[in-house]
């Protein structure tokens, strides 16, 4: 496509960080502080001081953190389309609609998948620094030594040895969540963090309930939904979901592109 220029996409990314640098600085610093506080509070729970805090505990906190990143950061896409004045400026920037969409996707992906994991890691380091230097002296406890040091690679949820369908399902889910939140930002603006997650929950409920309904309609016995396998170890239900997730992801971007193209101010 001759409408795509890497240099214009980079300029659009520069524009995004220039116009919204206060927002990005606030979320980076805010996330850092929040993670430190939450981790410290979690460590202060007596049971953790007694039994220790391991990598798997970090992963649980990180999972919740990652969901929050998707909702509150990825979901704030196209911030320039929120007000009339900024919309005029953004839509009339000499760049194509596809470049503007790609720039938004790259910006959100880079913040969510590159910057924010580091922020989490630094937040944990900060909590460890505060915990070890201050709390040990204040509380005179040596139990902080039972807190494991966070290995950055443990934040990567996909591990070797997992079934390919698990990895595909996880990657598809992340892609779909990202794309749907970006699409949602064009419809719901600043209220995207409320409406789009609600729609997603509704979508999951409808998908699961309709599968069960179809299954009970077509089978005489109460067959477990996981017993129908299309590949070895891959239930039909999961396989269909994987396809839907990737398709949904592509469709979300497709609709997003057309929504941007037809945007009027």
């Amino acid at each position: 496509m001759n409408n795509i220029s890497i240099s214009r996409i980079l300029k659009l990314i520069k524009f995004e960080f220039l116009m919204h640098r206060k927002y990005y600085l606030t979320i980076l610093i805010g996330a850092l502080v929040l993670v430190s506080v939450v981790i410290l509070i979690a460590w202060m729970q007596t049971r953790h001081l007694l039994t220790g805090w391991q990598q798997k505990h970090y992963q649980v906190v990180y999972f919740v953190y990652f969901l929050a990143v998707i909702i509150f950061i990825v979901g704030q896409g196209f911030k320039d389309l929120v007000t009339k004045a900024s919309s005029e400026r953004y839509l009339l920037l000499p760049a194509s609609h596809i470049e503007k969409l790609i720039a938004q996707i790259l910006t959100k992906f880079s913040v969510a998948l590159i910057a924010m994991p580091f922020v989490f890691w630094f937040g944990v380091l900060l909590a460890r620094l505060i915990g070890f230097s201050l709390m040990n002296n204040i509380l005179s406890t040596k139990n902080f030594e039972k807190i494991e040091y966070l290995r950055f690679e443990s934040l990567w949820i996909l591990t070797e040895g997992e079934h390919w369908s698990f990895n595909a399902f996880f990657i598809g889910s992340v892609f779909f969540l990202f794309s749907f939140m970006i699409l949602g930002s064009q419809y719901f603006g600043k209220w995207n963090f409320v409406y789009t997650p609600l729609i997603k929950i509704l979508f999951v409920l409808i998908t699961v309930l309709s599968c069960r309904a179809l299954l009970s309609f077509y089978t005489k016995n109460n067959t477990n939904i996981n017993e129908l396998e299309v590949f070895d170890g891959v239930p039909l239900f999961v396989f269909v979901l994987i396809i839907l997730l990737f398709l949904g992801s592509f469709l979300s971007y497709f609709i997003s592109y057309h929504k941007l193209k037809e945007r009027e101010v």
């Binding site: 214009r8 220039l18 007000t83 004045a85 920037l93 000499p94 609609h97 037809e262 009027e264």
Partner: protein, 299 residues
């Protein structure tokens, strides 16, 4: 000795073409229906009309911010609403209400336009900043509304765009700034550039524009080159208006009036009084197209 004469007809290139344009906002009355308009290059065009006549809407349609319900608005053959890169690179729209992120410095904000507009002239921009008395290292938050508007105008004039759309550019400017604006504009435009200024402050664009469009009730009531109007009409004032006056308005010293030039005569009544002209059009006394489409050359 053989002397030959020829007449050369030169029609200036149409930059913006509006064909059978109809537009309305959702659930609102039609703002224009089946409107036709051609804007040629190299002109400063004043777009006049009463409040709610559709001036800003037409500007937005030309800028590609609104989609026609039917008909088309095109720039050099391409629909403006497509917002193609060649069109956006050749067009700058300065809206009535400017909104510049206040935490940015002037130079940071202008760097956005420098990045995207390939024809951006930095020297010209700095000269304009100096004329408007704006310092490049200032934060936008330290600028008044009028200064922010001047900043946006300076950026608009520096992009090198062929089509400049200014919506109510003098709103919010003090009197000296309006003079600076007129002076800067009259010295800034290149031959292949077209500027459309939408305003209801007719006095602000007098002696600046060379073409006038008057919108009323969703239609183009008047589209005229001021030079052509000067050729065909006399705008004057006196104790009494002549009987054949096309339009008369009472005045402190008697009457202001518009009279059609008798055929073959050319009495210079001075530049058209835009306010009088506008009132005449709104009153339905003057309408139509008065465009200079022929140049004559002899050799």
């Amino acid at each position: 000795m053989l002397v030959s004469y020829y007449t050369m007809t030169v029609k200036q290139r149409d930059m913006i073409s509006v064909k059978k344009l109809s537009f309305s906002y959702p659930k609102k009355p039609w703002l224009c229906e089946e409107m036709d308009l051609e804007l040629s290059e190299g002109k400063i065009i004043g777009l006049l009309g009463l409040n709610g006549a559709g001036k800003s809407t037409l500007m937005r349609l030309m800028a590609g911010l609104l989609k026609p319900v039917s008909g088309e608005v095109s720039f050099e053959g391409g629909a403006t609403f497509d917002r193609s890169i060649p069109f956006l690179n050749q067009m700058i729209f300065v809206p009535e209400k400017v909104s510049v992120p206040e935490f940015l410095k002037v130079k940071e904000y202008s760097s956005v336009y420098q990045d995207f507009y390939s024809g951006f002239d930095l020297d010209r921009f700095e000269k304009l900043l100096s004329e408007f008395q704006i310092i490049g290292n200032q934060r936008v938050s330290n600028l008044s509304y009028g200064q922010q508007k001047k900043l946006q105008i300076a950026i608009g004039l520096s992009t090198g765009a062929k089509l400049l759309l200014f919506d109510e550019p003098t709103n919010g400017l003090d009197i000296p700034s309006k003079s600076t604006f007129r002076r800067v504009l009259s010295g800034s435009l290149q031959e292949d550039q077209t500027m459309v200024i939408s305003t209801h402050q007719v006095k602000d664009i007098e002696n600046l524009v060379d073409q006038i469009i008057v919108l009323d009730e969703g239609k183009v009531k008047l589209h005229a080159d001021l030079e052509e109007l000067e050729n065909q009409f006399v705008f004057s004032q006196g104790p009494q208006a002549p009987d054949q006056a096309v339009f008369v308005e009472s005045h402190l010293l008697g009457a202001q009036y518009i009279v059609k030039q008798p055929y073959g005569e050319r009495n210079s009544g001075g530049s058209p009084d835009l306010e009088l002209l506008f009132n005449a059009v709104i009153a339905g006394k003057l309408a139509g197209e008065f465009l200079s489409t022929q140049n004559q050359a002899t050799s």
